[in-house]
C-alpha cells in the first residue's frame, strides 16, 4: 500500500493552521514600495507587519550635501503627487530662520498652488483607491481631472511634478495672465467629476460594503500613533495645521475642516471629497483677492539679482556668484515648521549652523506614521480589506521612505 504524504492527505484541513503570507512589494496594489508580512487564520488577518524602505533614497543625507537652494528639488521628490506643499513647507522653515516676511502676493500664490496640489493628492487617493476596489471608471475620471490641474501647475511652474517652485523669499515666477480662465475651466471639469464620483460611489452598495466599517482606528489610538490629516479627521478629531497653526496667511481664508465619526475607510473617502471642495473654495477666494505687487523680497543676501544687474554691475555679479557658489547664509538656529500636507502634518525640522548649507533637515513624514498604524487598523479584517485600507491611507512612497 502506498504511503500518502500527510501534507496532501484529505484529512488535513490547511485552513486550520496559521499561515504566513508575504504580500508585496511586487503586488500591484502596494505600488511596488511596501511589503506586508501577514499572519493569516484562513482569510482573517491576525497580524500585519508592514515593511517600508523600498524607496529610501537618503533624502536627509543628500540635503546636507548642497546649498539651501539645492535642497528644494529634493523636496519635490517627497510627496510627488503634491510637491508644492513640500516646497512651501521647507521654504517656510528656512524663511523663519532668516526672519523673512514674504510679500502678500507671494503668500497668496503659495496658498493657491498648495491647494491645487492638495486636490491632486486627494484625487489620486480617491481614484486609485476606488480603482483598486474595482471601480475602474472612477480612476479614469479622476486621472483626467487631475491632468487638467497639472496643466495649471505646468503653466505656472514650468513642470508637472518636479516643479521646484519656491525660493527663499519668494517663488520663481508669477501666475500666468490667464490663470483665472484656466482654473475656472479645470474646476468646472472637477466639479463634474466629483458629481460623477458621488453618483458612482457614495451610495454604491458594493463600494459602501467594502469601505464601511473597515480599517477603523479610534481617535485615541490615532493620536497615539501620530496619525494626522484626513485619517485623524475621519476619526473625529478636527485637527488641521492650516487652522491650528496658520501659516502663509491661511488665517485670512474662509474654509471648513470636515470631520468624520467612525474613522473607517468610508469616512476617509467622504472627508477627502469634502476637502477637495474646501480647497476649491480657498483657490477661488485666493484668485479673487490676490493683491498686486512683487512675488519675492528684494534682499541680495537671499534672492538672486536680476540678470540685467548680473551682467551690468559688479555688485550684481558678486551677489550672484556668492549665492550660487556658497549659498545663502541662513542664520544659525533650529526650527520646526509644520504644514498640512495631503496626508497630514508634514513637518520640517531644520538646523542651520550659519554656513551656506543645511546642517540637518529632518522631515516628519505623515505617511510613515500612518503606515505604522496600518497593522492596528487591519487586525481582524479580511485580506481583501488590505487593498481598500491601504488605498485610503494613501501612502506615497517618496514621502514614507524618503
Amino acid at each position: 500500500m502506498a504511503v500518502v504524504d500527510q501534507r496532501f492527505s484529505i484529512d488535513v484541513d490547511p485552513s486550520e493552521e496559521i499561515m504566513d503570507i508575504q504580500m508585496g512589494p511586487a503586488h500591484p496594489a502596494t505600488h511596488g514600495t511596501i511589503k506586508f508580512n501577514l499572519k493569516l487564520d484562513g482569510e482573517v488577518i491576525l497580524n500585519c507587519d508592514t515593511e517600508v524602505g523600498y524607496l529610501h533614497r537618503g533624502f536627509e543625507k543628500m540635503i546636507e550635501q548642497g546649498t539651501w537652494t539645492q535642497a528644494i528639488p529634493y523636496t519635490d521628490r517627497l510627496n510627488y503627487v503634491s510637491p508644492l506643499i513640500n516646497n512651501v513647507g521647507f521654504i517656510l522653515g528656512v524663511e523663519r530662520l532668516c526672519g523673512i516676511q514674504v510679500p502678500p502676493r507671494c503668500e497668496v500664490i503659495r496658498v493657491i498652488m498648495s491647494e491645487i496640489s492638495r486636490i491632486c493628492d486627494h484625487l489620486t487617493c480617491i481614484g486609485m483607491g476606488a480603482a483598486e476596489a474595482g471601480a475602474q471608471t472612477v480612476g479614469f475620471l479622476t486621472n483626467e481631472s487631475r491632468e487638467f490641474l497639472w496643466d495649471i501647475v505646468e503653466a505656472v511652474t514650468g513642470a508637472r511634478l518636479t516643479i521646484s517652485y519656491t525660493r527663499i523669499g519668494g517663488v520663481t515666477r508669477d501666475l500666468p495672465f490667464d490663470i483665472n480662465d484656466r482654473v475656472a475651466g479645470a474646476f468646472k471639469n472637477l466639479r463634474g467629476v466629483l458629481d460623477d464620483c458621488d453618483k458612482l460611489l457614495t451610495r454604491n452598495r458594493i463600494f459602501y460594503d467594502r469601505m464601511s466599517g473597515v480599517g477603523i482606528i479610534s481617535a485615541e489610538d490615532a493620536i497615539s500613533y501620530g496619525v494626522t490629516g484626513p485619517l485623524l479627521r475621519a476619526a473625529g478629531v478636527p485637527y488641521d495645521v492650516r487652522k491650528a497653526q496658520p501659516y502663509s496667511g491661511y488665517e485670512r481664508f474662509d474654509f471648513e475642516v470636515p470631520v468624520g465619526e467612525k474613522g473607517d475607510n468610508y469616512d476617509r473617502f467622504l472627508i477627502r471629497v469634502n476637502e477637495i471642495e474646501q480647497s476649491m473654495r480657498i483657490v477661488e477666494q485666493g484668485l479673487r483677492e490676490i493683491p498686486d505687487g512683487p512675488i519675492r523680497i528684494d534682499d541680495p543676501r537671499y534672492v538672486l539679482p536680476e540678470k540685467h544687474d548680473v551682467y551690468n554691475s559688479i555688485e550684481g555679479l558678486m551677489h550672484h556668484f556668492k549665492l550660487i557658489m556658497e549659498g545663502a547664509k541662513v542664520p544659525p538656529g533650529e526650527v520646526y515648521q509644520a504644514v498640512e500636507g495631503g496626508n497630514g502634518e508634514l513637518g520640517f525640522y531644520i538646523i542651520s549652523d550659519g554656513s551656506g548649507r543645511p546642517y540637518r533637515c529632518r522631515v516628519r513624514p505623515p505617511c510613515f506614521y500612518s503606515m505604522g498604524a496600518l497593522g492596528q487598523m487591519l487586525k481582524g479584517h479580511m485580506v481583501a480589506d488590505i487593498i481598500t485600507t491601504f488605498g485610503m491611507v494613501n501612502m506615497i512612497g517618496g514621502e514614507c521612505d524618503r
Binding site: 504566513d20 508575504q22 508580512n37 499572519k39 497580524n47 507587519d49 517600508v52 524602505g53 529610501h56 537618503g58 536627509e60 543625507k61 543628500m62 546636507e64 550635501q65 523663519r96 530662520l97 489610538d221 493620536i223 497615539s224 500613533y225 501620530g226 478629531v237 485637527y239 491650528a244 497653526q245 538656529g333 533650529e334 526650527v335 520646526y336 509644520a338 502634518e345 513637518g347 525640522y349 538646523i351 546642517y359 540637518r360 529632518r362 516628519r364 510613515f368 506614521y369 503606515m371 505604522g372 498604524a373 492596528q376 521612505d401 524618503r402
Partner: protein, 168 residues
C-alpha cells in the same frame, strides 16, 4: 500658552530636572537628562496644563566634533491646547542610548526604529529594535556625519524567507 509662559511652567513643574528651557523663534526647547526622561515625558503627557497627547516626531542630530556628540530630539504637540514643545536629550557617542517612549506613545515604535537605523541611537526597552528603512545586513548608520555619502556596501545574498523566518 506663549512659549515664554511654557518655559516658565516647565521650570516650575520640573525644577532641577530642567537642564535648560529656552525660547527661540517662537518655539520652546527643553533639555533634560536621559535618566529623567520617562518621568518627565509621562508628566508632559498627563498633566492638564501641558496635555501633550501627540508625539510628533523622534529624531537625532549628530554634532560631530562636540561632546556630547548626539542630541535626541522629540517634538511634542498638544491637540487640545494647541501648543508645541521640543525636548532634547544629549548623549555621548560611547554611551548612545536613551529610554524608549513606547509605553507612552505608540508612534515611538516606528520613530525610534528609524532613529536607531539612521543614527545609531539605542532605545532601551523598545520591544522590536529592528532596522526599518535599511536592510538588516547594512553596516553603520547612514545619517551620521562621519558616514561617507558615496560609500557603497556589498550586495547581500538573497534571503529565503521560509528558511530564515521573519519576526512578528
Amino acid at each position: 500658552m506663549t512659549p515664554e509662559q511654557m518655559a516658565e511652567g516647565l521650570r516650575a513643574a520640573f525644577g532641577e530636572k530642567v537642564r535648560a528651557a529656552t525660547v527661540a523663534l517662537g518655539e520652546t526647547t527643553l533639555e533634560i537628562h536621559r535618566d529623567d526622561a520617562l518621568e518627565v515625558f509621562g508628566a508632559l503627557r498627563d498633566r492638564p496644563e501641558f496635555a501633550f497627547n501627540m508625539l510628533c516626531d523622534v529624531t537625532a542630530v549628530d554634532y560631530l566634533g562636540t561632546s556630547p556628540r548626539f542630541a535626541v530630539v522629540y517634538h511634542l504637540h498638544s491637540i487640545s491646547l494647541n501648543h508645541r514643545l521640543r525636548v532634547k536629550i544629549r548623549v555621548v557617542e560611547t554611551d548612545a542610548w536613551v529610554h524608549s517612549l513606547t509605553p507612552l506613545w505608540k508612534l515611538a515604535d516606528w520613530a525610534e526604529r528609524e532613529c536607531w537605523d539612521m543614527m545609531g541611537i539605542r532605545f532601551v526597552g523598545h520591544p522590536d529594535p529592528r532596522r526599518i528603512l535599511m536592510y538588516e545586513e547594512f553596516v553603520g548608520h547612514p545619517l551620521r556625519r562621519d558616514y561617507p555619502v558615496n560609500k557603497r556596501q556589498p550586495l547581500v545574498p538573497e534571503r529565503d524567507p521560509i528558511e530564515t523566518g521573519w519576526k512578528f
